[in-house]
Amino acid sequence: DLQSTNLVEVCMALTVVSQIFPREMIPAVLPLIEDKLQHSKEIIRRKAVLALYKFHLIAPNQVQHIHIKFRKALCDRDVGVMAASLHIYLRMIKENSSGYKDLTGSFVTILKQVVGGKLPVDFNYHSVPAPWLQIQLLRILGLLGKDDQRTSELMYDVLDESLRRAELNHNVTYAILFECVHTVYSIYPKSELLEKAAKCIGKFVLSPKINLKYLGLKALTYVIQQDPTLALQHQMTIIECLDHPDPIIKRETLELLYRITNAQNVTVIVQKMLEYLHQSKEEYVIVNLVGKIAELAEKYAPDNAWFIQTMNAVFSVGGDVMHPDIPNNFLRLLAEGFDDETEDQQLRLYAVQSYLTLLDMENVFYPQRFLQVMSWVLGEYSYLLDKETPAEVIAKLYKLLMNDSVSSETKTWLIAAVTKLTPQAHSSDTVERLIHEFTISLDTCMRQHAFELKHLHENVELMKSLLPVDRSCEDLAVDASLSFLDGFVAEGLSQGAAPYKPHHQRQEEKLSQEKVLNFEPYGLSFSSSGFTGRQSPAGISLGSDISGNSAETGLKETNSLKLEGIKKLWGKEGYLPKKESKTGDESGALPIPQESIMENVDQAITKKDQSQVLTQSKEEKEKQLLASSLFVGLGSESTVNLLGKADTVSHKFRRKSKVKEAKSGETTSTHNMTCSSFSSLSNVAYEDDYYLNTLHDRGDKELKTFSLNSELLDSESLTELPLVEKFSNCSLSTPSLFADNSMEIFHPPQSTAASVAKESSLASPFLEETTEYIHSNAMEICNNETISVSSYKIWKDDCLLMVWSVTNKSGLELKSANLEIFPVENFKVTEQPGCCLPVTEAESTRSFQYSVQIEKPFTEEILSGFISYHMMDTHSAQLEFSVNLSLLDFIRPLKISSEDFGKLWLSFANDVKQNVKMSESQAALPSALKTLQQKLRLHIIEIIGNEGLLACQLLPSIPCLLHCRVYADVLALWFRSSCSTLPDYLLYQCQKVMEGS
């Protein structure tokens, strides 16, 4: 329909496109819609702009290139089209206001025209010209003028005009005024405008119309951040609004008050907020308001009693819906205290007392969170009490514990508190009763706590040393290396237990078993297999660790494993990260007790029975440790893999090249062939060969890096040899395996070197430096009668090295030859040392090296510069040149394992999918991937059935992952990267490669 000549059909098609279009299909219709921007009928143009706006919303980087066309739409003679384009601009300016400053003038002019009534009468609404358009424009101006004096100055006039024009008493003019005020206060301030805006707000707030009042309050809330004095003028109105029957108005007023809160008025404001809080029932409102109250109370609390009471109110109303940070922060505040120690003590004492009174009340229901806070505070700070003994506190806690309405999580908090109090209590009937009660509890977590308490209770001295009074803020020294467990591990191993396997090794094993089933896209299969992989093998290894020991140990172990919050520890990512997050949310509330319990369990047990019982977390840590040591092993394993892979790749290619040579009819024996590959291949064949070479070269580099021994040595020794010797060396010594290898490695550089040498007669010492890296052919980029400049690219691992070699063709000496590169937006060009030489002798060559770093992805860019030189002592001359750089020059293979791929894949948000038709010659996946590997320098990670995983990185270090799948002759490419634009560019390159070959 988009191509139809019928207007209505095109219209409908465009409407549908913008309503229900999936983002994957955008590239297919984008050109069609772009065409429609030039359509003669304005409604089509407008709908096209809107469709593009929709595309911009769902996939911003796919419509990047049409920004210029948006500009055209903005200047369209039809108002509708212009208005439509404003949506796009509002959006883009919101994201990046600095990029569109130059358009401020246009927006101002448009607004001027609109305000001046230059639009057709059709656009008037109750005789106000295009009010919504005005609002839109004002919003854009507000964004553009933010903190920017120069841009703001452009718009003062028009804002003044809008304020003046919108005098009519109609709702829609109020809307415009509101927007004006908003804009005036967001741009760089100008006193006259501010004054007018303030007057406007005054009018709003004082208005008897309820909607206007609301608007006024909203404006005031915004304005007050810049200018608090304005609130003073409207004090009385605000107070009135506070007691307004409409709860919405009340809320808006509270919002306003929240912004102007300070140490003096905090009590009143919080009081009002609490009142409102008690009335409201909606959960969202409660969560929101409770957060604000807690924030204010923490910031401005005038005294302890008030603070504790406010927080009590917050906890009891907010209950379990509030944000977990609130109780956590509160407890941290209590524990860490302020500067003044006595102040702290008072605060804590007050808290303890108030909680005890609260607990004394009968038949009152408190939210679980509040009970948890209480139990922690009582456990830590009950010692501050004079009158009541710890035993009494314990009794109260016990009563709570027996209460059915208390959740089991809260119960663990309560037990922790009791444990802390036990050493201070003298008579401990209650404690014994409690132990008795809970050692048979069905809840394993509770049972474990009870057991801990029991053991500690048997040894009061130890308990006292372990649970010191008021030490919650001191860090405990934890033996992270768990060296004291080494013996246990060794014992376990000697008794035949399987060694511990780290998480991802198990996962790998699992994966290799599941390979056949692995048809899902990677995101999915990784998460699911990761999950199952985690569960079962963990169980096994745990079991195997234990298996050597007596059944009793096993039993105890299961007991001690159930520290609170343990469920959270099991996750796909392994233990440690979870541990951190746990300290974030849980130990913030209960900072040390948990750890101290862990530790005390540990010590108690070490005393009684050397390292028989392990706490879960310790064991997990040990696993981590083991994991890290095993990682090393695995790392080397994977390098072995890579070596193997590199080998096979190069083998395949050797075979291929043989075939090629066989075709050219020069077959005799292997070494003859390879020799001939330098000498007799035509230039065209050479191109192909070149890619093979790069591949060999890369294989060679892999070999070098991973097995640093023989190959490297050899290669070094070989590089030192003169060129000719290498040549002969290669061709002569092929029979032995080793030499074959070295030939594999070395003829590519040689051949290129040879050709380069031929073409530009470069000096050989320079070549030797660069042969280590893959490089392009030298290309003559400019010349004149005296000099010729040729350049080539060296694709180093960390950057692109551009080499310009200047050959002096004349018989005269050149003085001060100098090369300069024009700065380009996307690149960072740095000169390599030693590239500027003052004198170039007759008929010799000098080279300049520049390393180029990319700053922003692009498809193709031109790097240009000039060479200036002096001839002897006569005249100076300049010669300009330019070189095309493509994105591919900055792509390097990224060598990662399949598992890392899976992890990275999940962590990247930007993805692009596209189907590409493959040509006949490469209909099979491996060959297609090989093409990609050769031409785009992607790294093939793995090929599984009809799917392939590839990875690359854009220098300096932006990774991009590619998942390919083949159906019939279609290759489905799926890119993901951390950079939003890179996948698009890469996709383009892939398409080019796949279609081109």
Partner: protein, 135 residues
């Protein structure tokens, strides 16, 4: 940004709904009942803007019919309020004295006039031109 546009009568029957962000079908009914409940609970003296969860409702009552627009908090409430009125004026013009029956029987016409994006201004402009309503 407008999130949804609803036309509901006093009995809580939805006459027209248009969502600009994806909402599950089941959740829609729930949302609609809650929205109309909160609108009905308000009197004439109270303002026409309601804060509901993390967005705002702007409503206007025409006889037994409520028009409710849900927006996020960057929107100008008064502009939306007037936009509703404008919308009704256009309907009035089109049907020559619009009533609830018109709305429920000519659903297709409404959906035809509906623009794709979530801004009211365009609907307005569209409505003021005369041809596209005749889809």
């Amino acid at each position: 940004m407008i999130k949804f546009f609803l036309m509901v009568n006093k009995q809580g029957q939805t006459r027209l709904s248009k969502y600009y962000e994806h909402v599950d079908i089941n959740k829609r009914t729930l949302l609609e009942t809650e929205v109309i409940k909160s609108c009905l609970s308000r009197s004439n003296e109270q303002c026409s803007f309601i804060e509901y969860k993390d967005f705002k409702l702007i409503y206007r009552q025409y006889a037994a019919l409520f028009i409710v627009v849900g927006v996020n908090d960057t929107e100008n409430e008064m502009a939306i309020y007037e936009f509703i009125h404008n919308f009704v004026e256009v309907l009035d013009e089109y049907f020559s004295r619009v009533s609830e029956l018109d709305v429920s029987f000519f659903n297709t016409v409404f959906h035809g006039t509906w623009q794709a994006h979530s801004s009211p201004y365009q609907v307005l402009v569209l409505a003021l031109e005369d041809d596209p309503t005749s889809v």
